[in-house]
């Protein structure tokens, strides 16, 4: 249930090397996609204009096509984060807040990623990312989307792209920037205070699942997709065998069977404008595990979301508006035994608008809101330290009234001296946090104390 670090999103220069086209073909400003970028992604990242090493069979069938330059990229984020009000330092006194932390966190790097992003074989491409992050201090698998795709031309000059995606984050395979994996904020601090509540489809299961989905994109306008997700835990071993599986009760939030995922979207393009409206959703049955066997009562999360995107991509001016609303209905049969409500609901809304002048100067303003039923079992008043066990009378990450409600604004200004280098100054202001505007945690902390100033240098090459 905890909302993890915001899942960032990326643009990858290896695509530019592969296609011979500048970033501007596929992106307004990275990582937001243009129509051409969406079509490139739907086609499986395989469009290439590089010299190839080839093998052809006696019937002219293609056996191998390897680009002479591998589709590798490196991406780095260097950041500085300052909270409006410092949080308690509990490092030496777990039971009570003993002092205050240092304010101003330098992330150098906050994140460093290696990508393979491009064609693997004629109809087979990948967007695969390996990331070092400064919070874990380790290298781990990050967003990954392996695609098989094909295109046919129908009568009346209409194209039909169809394919299969194997990925590790619901919506990472999606073509629009409205859905969680590649939505705004495109980059966010990992040295901030995160609110308690977030829906399952909203990044909660990122890199924790494996999904296989089939999709079709008709006439570059109607998009339909259906898939199924299964837990794919990283760093988890079976207690008895010591092997990577089968998963046992030491794992937490394990998907029971397969979780269905679905998506429908329609995009209309006219002149330099395009408008997309869509719906997406998933249903997750999760076994809480974490010390209990993976059987018996479960927790069910039914997520249904709507999204909308408008883009104007002109020569000098680029303007876009994006938004999504995610509704989640929870049936917490398993967790209710431990004291949560039997049912809860949660709704997250996000809406943001972006403007750029000549892809160089620009900014985004965004509004976000999460509201739902109060449940002290889910959004507790008692803090637990990052180890998940040690209780702490320190507030900050708690809710005094058991409400998940969090609301606020994000504003950022960006400058791109080159198309693959972005400098950002972002400010997040909370009007409500974990259910309250003032003293939300019962320890005197106000929502606005979590306001976050975030400076970011973000580049990829």
């Amino acid at each position: 249930m905890l909302c993890g670090a915001a899942a960032p999103a990326w643009a990858v220069p290896s695509f530019a090397r592969q296609t011979g086209m500048a970033c501007a073909a596929c992106h307004t400003v990275f990582p937001e996609l243009t129509h051409f970028g969406r079509v490139f992604k739907a086609n499986g990242y395989v469009l290439d204009n590089l010299q190839q090493v080839q093998a052809v069979g006696s019937k002219r069938e293609e056996l191998l096509e390897l680009a002479k330059t591998p589709a590798l990229s490196i991406m780095a984020q260097v950041s500085y984060t300052s909270l409006k009000t410092r949080v308690p330092d509990v490092s030496n006194s777990a039971a009570n807040a003993a002092g205050l932390t240092q304010n101003g966190t330098a992330g150098f790097p906050q994140q460093l990623s290696l990508f393979y992003a491009g064609k693997i074989a004629p109809h087979f491409g990948a967007f695969a990312q390996l990331t070092y992050a400064n919070d874990s201090g380790t290298i781990g698998i990050d967003n990954t989307d392996l695609r098989f795709a094909n295109m046919i031309i129908l009568p009346h000059k209409q194209s039909l792209i169809y394919g299969i995606s194997l990925n590790n984050n619901p919506t990472v395979q999606d073509l629009w920037n409205t859905t969680p994996a590649f939505g705004f904020p495109y980059a966010a601090s990992n040295a901030n205070v995160s609110p308690l509540a977030g829906t399952e489809i909203d990044g909660t299961l990122a890199q924790d699942v494996a999904g296989l989905s089939a999709y079709a994109f008709w006439n570059e306008s109607l998009y339909l997709e259906a898939g199924i997700y299964r837990s794919a835990k990283q760093g988890q071993t079976n207690v008895l065998t010591g092997q990577a599986g089968p998963l046992d009760g030491s794992a937490s939030n394990v998907i029971e069977g397969g979780a269905p995922y679905w998506r429908a979207a329609y995009e209309h393009d006219w002149g330099a404008h395009n408008l997309e409206v869509g719906i997406y959703g998933a249903e997750f049955k999760l076994q809480p595990g974490a010390g209990t066997p993976l059987q018996g009562p479960d927790n069910r999360f039914n997520d249904v979301a709507e999204d909308i995107q408008y883009q104007y991509v002109g020569e000098d001016h680029i303007f876009s508006v994006e938004g999504t609303r995610i509704h989640e209905k929870m049936n917490l049969t398993a967790s209710a035994l431990g004291g949560t409500n039997a049912t809860d609901d949660l709704t997250t809304d996000r809406l943001w608008a972006t403007y750029y002048y000549r892809r160089q100067f620009g900014g985004t303003v965004g509004w976000f809101s999460t509201t739902g039923s109060a449940d002290p079992g889910l959004y507790p008043a008692q803090a637990t330290l990052a180890d998940g066990v040690t209780p702490c009378n320190c507030g900050v990450v708690t809710s005094a009234n058991g409400s998940p409600d969090t609301r606020g604004y994000v504003g950022e200004v960006n400058y791109l001296p080159w198309l693959n280098v972005k400098l950002s100054l972002q400010y997040t202001h909370y009007t409500k946090f974990n259910g309250g505007d003032t003293n939300y945690d019962g320890f005197g902390r106000n929502a606005s104390d979590n306001d976050t100033l975030y400076l970011l240098l973000w580049f990829a090459y």
Binding site: G20, A24, L47, D48, N49, P122, M151
Partner: protein
């Protein structure tokens, strides 16, 4: 075989009837016809499925950033595609988009793509303010002798329909024409005649001519 050739070669054998025909022809003993038909079919599929994302499936792009290609003369299109491939056409969008897209095209594919667009029916242009159109028409038909600007119609034809040597301009996006005139002016796109013309045109005059051209059928 170039990369886009390969990309389309993979599409060609698939579902369209013509694609299936091309595939059958490709394994028949009549090699010359077979190759020509297969290349034409592949080029058509490329034009619709790849180029079409920006230029429109039939070359009638709706986005003014990307030129309309329907009804454009094949000879002109061949020269442009080769100029992209050889990286000699240097306006900003050519560099950012078309150098890459054309880099792997074979001469046969270039010819077939050009033929495809040449036989497409040009769509309707867009109307503009009558006064501006009248001014644009005046400049197009008679030039601006006092500024040393010759009549555009001398090369592009009285109805701006062009020929193999000079491009068709009728119905072209005004925004695209303005962008090209700016590139001629700055010499990023180096064509001596057009550099001379564009240097002597002021912005409102360019706008008038562009609006007039876009309004033509």
């Amino acid at each position: 075989m170039s990369s886009i050739d390969r990309f389309v070669a993979r599409l060609a054998p698939l579902m369209t009837a013509a694609g299936a025909l091309a595939f059958v022809l490709a394994v028949s003993p009549v090699h010359a016809q077979e190759d020509a038909a297969a290349v034409a079919q592949q080029a058509e599929d490329t034009a619709i499925g790849v180029c079409g994302t920006c230029h429109g499936p039939d070359g009638n792009s709706t986005n003014p950033m990307f030129p309309r290609l329907a009804g454009q003369h094949a000879g002109y299109l061949v020269r442009q595609l080769k100029a992209f491939k050889e990286e000699t056409r240097g306006d900003p969008y050519a560099i950012a988009y078309m150098w890459g897209m054309a880099s792997g095209l074979s001469d046969e594919t270039i010819d077939a793509l050009a033929q495809y667009y040449a036989r497409q029916k040009a769509g309707f242009g867009k109307s503009h303010d009558p006064a501006t159109i009248a001014r644009g028409r005046e400049i197009f038909e008679h030039g601006l002798p006092s500024q040393g600007v010759p009549a555009c119609a001398l090369c592009h034809g009285p109805d701006a329909l062009g020929n193999d040597q000079f491009p068709r301009l009728a119905g072209q996006h005004a925004e695209y024409i303005l962008k090209q005139l700016a590139s001629f002016q700055s010499n990023m796109r180096k064509i001596a005649v057009m550099h001379g013309v564009a240097q002597n045109l002021r912005t409102p005059e360019m706008q008038a001519v562009a609006d007039y051209l876009e309004s033509l059928p």
